[in-house]
Symmetry: C2
Subunit: 352 residues, 2 copies
């Protein structure tokens, strides 16, 4: 599964089920006490569903945090790409940029900025730029000469609606707008930090980043793939943009070098974790449970973590990645780290 | 003709023929005296071809200037995109970026930087980025779903060699590298200026720049096109990147707002001038003289300046544009303005 399918669930049933399961086996991590505390709040909330005016649980606050950020990012994106002349290209850009995306990268960017003491406003142009880059990669990935996908997020892909020519141009325009937007809209951040963030984003997308992962993935089709190559593909194709999201948010928030590097490692772990979990779900869940075709990787003889290391080892590797991610958060303000802590757990425990 | 065909001639025969023609009718411009002086040097050079050890003419110095810049830009581009892993994507990027390009935008960028008192080094990363953006636009323009061209600069187009998928990714990688390169390689320029230049470049490429021109051009195929629409297409599709080249060079060189705006107007005029001259040549020259198919615009019923305003009016418009361009140079140091002054004249008088 491509990074495009990165999923962020906010529905209450997930939070409650997830909370109860974890109360029985709290994770042994540096922030385990905080996590347990969060989950106790959630459990308490379960019992209080009929009691109006109760103080909201911390779990509920996390959900609120995510919803609030999602809404603010969507408003900022709407403003960043207004429907202007020439209408057709802006329609095509908005078609893939706006709508029901999960805004994983923008929210991670903002959460990282806030974690290091910055305000949301400092990171919002960067957050929007990350979503523009993400949208560009989806539009180009879906093209007939690439993955040749007709559907994306339940609606026709960009080129099916606007044609290949406009889809390519819409991707190009979103990519250039991403950099323009950071440069022209970021306020109250030193220009030196803006320049560093632009260099980071450019590097994450390009021929040593996302594009490198795509190329090696294409080149590996139908071949025997080593563990090293599989990790290369996923670290580049999926984790690089996740990494840039956290790093650029931290830069905009004024993090020091050590803080930036900790967040880089955190994001690299959760980016790769997402992919490992995705591979495991493909062989352990039914199509009904996944909401998509299960066993696709096996059927297409695609290299996956369970295939290369076995299902048990793949699960251990996933657990190791979530631990690694959490360890990187240990030295930050624990209250501010809650969203990122929660995110690592969510990715590890998702069931679809 | 697309901007891709922008041509910079340095061969001696052009310089000499051009010089003699203009000696008979020196252009009446604010810098006409300087131009005449340049051309007299060139004429003098013609008589001295057999006299070794003569001081080089100013015309020859201009040629030297262009050759030197071309060489330095090529060296910097070679260094900017080394052949590294993954090999295939870097081969594809280098295939379209390096080789026999004329480096019009990079040289204009450096000349603008030097005009306002900056050194070449300040503008070189920006100059390379402009060529990366230009190469990206050529790769994507040539794709089967766009112009469907098999040949570019006398060799197979990128997708003919590497396939559509890699060609699209090579374009994406070049575009992101362009911004990364400016942000990470520019030295001794204030970060504030770097951020302004990045915003300028992003705006020039995107949905209100080059892409806007391409979209309106595509949308105009087979329709009656007004003078206003024709100018819109060419100003955006061709002149925007020329404009960004001069403006970004000036920003890197530390120009004040007034200087930047004068160079913006100069570049907008020469960008549009190139297109008007191109249209005129299409109807006044033979295929042999042009080195490409003449009368192509007429045959394809394409909107051109001669078609919409008549050949004489189109020539007057071209003369007006070159005058406008030169007027913008009047307030700069006349010695430093020679390359840009010469460039306007070359574009106006080119015969192929």
């Amino acid at each position: 599964m491509a990074f495009s399918a990165l999923f962020w669930s906010f529905n209450s049933s997930f939070f409650l089920k997830h909370s109860i399961n974890h109360l029985k086996n709290p994770p042994k991590t540096p922030l385990g006490h905080l996590y347990l505390s969060t989950m106790k709040f959630a459990s308490s909330n379960l019992k209080q569903t009929n009691q109006a005016q109760e103080a909201p649980s911390l779990a509920f606050q996390l959900k609120e945090y995510m919803f609030t950020k999602l809404k603010q990012v969507n408003e900022a994106l709407e403003e960043a790409v207004p429907l202007q002349q020439p209408i057709k290209i802006h329609e095509a850009m908005r078609y893939s940029l706006l709508g029901n995306g999960k805004r994983m990268c923008p929210i991670l960017c903002i959460a990282s900025c806030e974690l290091v003491g910055g305000d949301e406003e400092l990171a919002m142009p960067m957050a929007c730029a990350l979503e523009m880059v993400h949208a560009m990669s989806l539009i180009h990935d879906d093209l007939p000469c690439m993955d040749n996908d007709d559907l994306r997020r339940g609606k026709p892909t960009n080129h099916k609606v606007f044609g290949e020519c406009i889809a390519i141009l819409a991707g190009d325009a979103l990519l250039s707008l991403a950099f323009e937007h950071i440069a022209s809209k970021t306020k109250n951040v030193s220009p030196d930090c803006v320049v560093r963030a632009i260099a980071e984003l450019g590097s994450a997308i390009g021929s040593r980043g996302v594009v490198a992962g795509q190329i090696v993935d294409i080149d590996s089709e139908g071949k025997e793939v080593s563990m090293k190559t599989l990790e290369y593909i996923h670290v580049h194709k999926t984790a690089k943009l996740v990494e840039a999201s956290a790093v650029c948010g931290a830069i905009m928030g004024g993090a020091d070098v050590a803080g930036i590097e900790r967040l880089r490692k955190y994001a690299r772990s959760i980016g790769l974790l997402y992919q490992v979990v995705d591979d495991i779900l493909d062989v352990t869940k039914s199509s009904e449970e996944l909401g998509k075709t299960a066993g696709k990787d096996l059927a297409s003889n695609k290299a996956t973590y369970p295939k290369l290391m076995g299902i048990d080892e793949a699960k251990k590797f996933a657990a190791q990645l979530v631990e690694q991610a959490k360890e990187e958060l240990a030295s930050f303000d624990s209250a501010k780290a809650v969203p990122l802590f929660h995110l690592a757990d969510y990715i590890a425990s998702r069931q679809s």
